[in-house]
């Protein structure tokens, strides 16, 4: 994922020079997001879907709901599964085949935010305790890799969940009978992932593809609706100082508000 694009030394120098004046190569300041656009209900066949554009990044999330067995340790809860596909047409760095470590990490970071914030009320997805529950599959397709896939994917997943419809049903013995009409998926929380990059000693929000090539380290903090931290992931070899981590946690908390407002207004 790191070397999906080559950056010349000249470009690197220019980017660093700009950062020292508090600006970035695409004109943003250090703690701004690129333009975000959210479209919902883009795939009719899916129970829920959303497409998120974050600058040049383009991510599509689809939700499918199935009936399956619960995990033995939580027999009264539905199951959540997040999967991401880094399909080869989205970037020269993506290769065909089963998900690689980058795809797995991406899926697990998105999963952790949704799971730990208890965004989906899984207890309401139980049909017959220990036997039958609803399984929520979130599949995330990256359609164009323009940097910061984590935030875009987490946003797309949340937007897709917010407009997911479940069919009404009744139990006949142990079988499900599908009835007319739909109900929304029970959502309790709105986790927002906020990702920072560290270039030299500068901390930048929402790194673009160019910036990702010269980035030393990455830190994602996921914030829930009550401003609590529900997931953290540091990525790429590189380090942060204690002060940097503290600052990042603070900025993440502020920025998450902006994004949450945007998703909620788009998913009304």
């Amino acid at each position: 994922m790191r070397f999906s694009k080559f950056i010349t030394n000249l470009e690197r120098k220019q980017m660093l020079n700009l950062l020292s004046t508090g600006k970035r190569i695409d004109g943003r300041d250090l703690y701004s997001y690129r333009e975000i656009k959210i479209e919902t209900n883009v795939i009719e066949r899916a129970e829920g879907s959303a497409r998120v554009y974050l600058g040049d990044t383009d991510v599509l999330a689809g939700v499918k709901i199935d009936v399956g067995e619960p995990f033995p340790d939580v027999p009264n809860e539905g199951v959540l599964t997040v999967n991401t596909e880094l399909v080869p047409f989205a970037s020269p760095a993506f290769e065909p085949g089963p998900p690689d470590e980058n795809a797995i990490e991406l899926a697990r970071v998105v999963d952790r935010g949704i799971r730990e914030s208890k965004a989906i009320d899984l207890a309401k997805l139980c049909i017959i305790p220990g036997k039958k529950v609803f399984v929520v599959y979130i599949d995330i397709y990256v359609l164009n890799h323009g940097g910061n896939l984590i935030d875009a994917s987490a946003l797309a997943a949340l937007a897709a969940l917010l407009n997911t419809k479940m069919y009404n049903y009744e139990l006949v013995g142990e079988e499900l009978k599908i009835l007319a009409g739909y109900q929304p998926l029970p959502i309790k929380n709105y986790p927002i992932a906020v990702t920072f990059g560290k270039v030299s000693d500068y901390i930048i929000l929402d790194p673009s593809l160019d910036e990702e090539q010269i980035m030393d380290a990455r830190l994602t903090i996921t914030i829930d609706k009550d401003k609590r931290i529900c997931a953290i992931q540091k990525g790429i070899g590189g380090y942060f100082t204690l002060q940097q981590v503290r600052d990042i946690a603070k900025i993440a908390s502020e920025k998450s508000e902006e994004l949450r407002k945007l998703v909620l207004s788009e998913c009304k």
Binding site: I104, R112, R115, L219, K227, C230, G237, L242, V245, A249
Partner: protein, 243 residues
């Protein structure tokens, strides 16, 4: 799977294994335990039993993976099928793939990889018994194994988790606390300059609790760092005596 019916923290503030909230589990480290490896280490932290072995710098296989300006660092974290309550399939799980990646990225900043272009350095971590906090213990062990292999480094990397259990901020979570607690935050650092090379968290905590956890985890790292350094030094003292 173990489920605790008892409270995770008693009224006296003691934990399921009798520790106070800011206590580490007993840590035992041995260096040079795998004869064939260029460097190796064995760590016991509570009931965790983990082996780490390092091979390299050596020729890269397959060759097209070689990097022209530095060594290729590879890491494989693996859990033995018998290391947990229910047998774990030996095939790499998604969790193991993610952990291999974050462990590699936690160790990478400590190494002068640019000294060995076009070579590979391979780290193999085998969890023989797991008891919560395996990624942290693995990083601590792998870093000594790298030192034992004589790979130049800026500092050793040491890791320790802090978390929230029954409303208390605690150090070095065991398996039961990890599964039933509110939050678990593994942290790895290079203690000399206090640089954080791994930070993950799952759970729900406030900003204030997060700050406390950060400080506690770093404190824990510093404690383990002393044990780590002692273990490494003692092997070299032994070597000198043999000579």
């Amino acid at each position: 799977m173990e489920k605790s019916e008892k409270p995770l923290i008693t009224e006296d503030g003691l934990r399921t294994d009798g520790r106070g909230p800011r206590d580490l589990r007993p840590v035992k480290i041995e260096v040079g335990v795998v004869k064939n490896a260029d460097g190796s280490a064995y760590i016991e932290q509570g009931k965790n039993k983990i082996l780490a072995a390092v091979y390299g710098p050596s020729e890269v296989h397959p060759r097209h993976f070689a990097l022209q300006d530095r060594a290729l660092l590879r890491c494989k974290y693996h859990m033995a099928p018998f290391s947990v309550q229910d047998r774990k399939s030996p095939a790499p799980s998604r969790r193991e793939i993610e952990l291999s990646k974050v462990i590699r990225e936690a160790l990478e900043p400590s190494l002068f990889l640019e000294y060995y272009p076009r070579t590979s350095i391979d780290i193999f971590i085998e969890v023989l018994q797991a008891d919560g906090g395996t990624r942290c213990a693995s990083i601590t062990a792998a870093s000594i194994a790298l030192a034992d292999a004589g790979i130049p480094m800026r500092d050793m990397v040491v890791a320790c988790a802090a978390g929230k259990v029954d409303g208390h901020i605690v150090l070095d979570l065991n398996d039961i606390e990890d599964k039933n607690g509110e939050a678990d935050m593994p942290l790895a650092m290079m203690p000399n300059k206090g640089l954080i090379t791994l930070l993950q968290m799952d759970g729900l905590v406030t900003q204030e609790e997060f700050k406390q956890m950060l400080e506690l985890a770093m404190e824990g790292c510093n404690l383990i760092y002393q044990i780590q350094k002692k273990a490494l030094k003692s092997t070299f003292i032994k070597t000198v005596e043999e000579v």
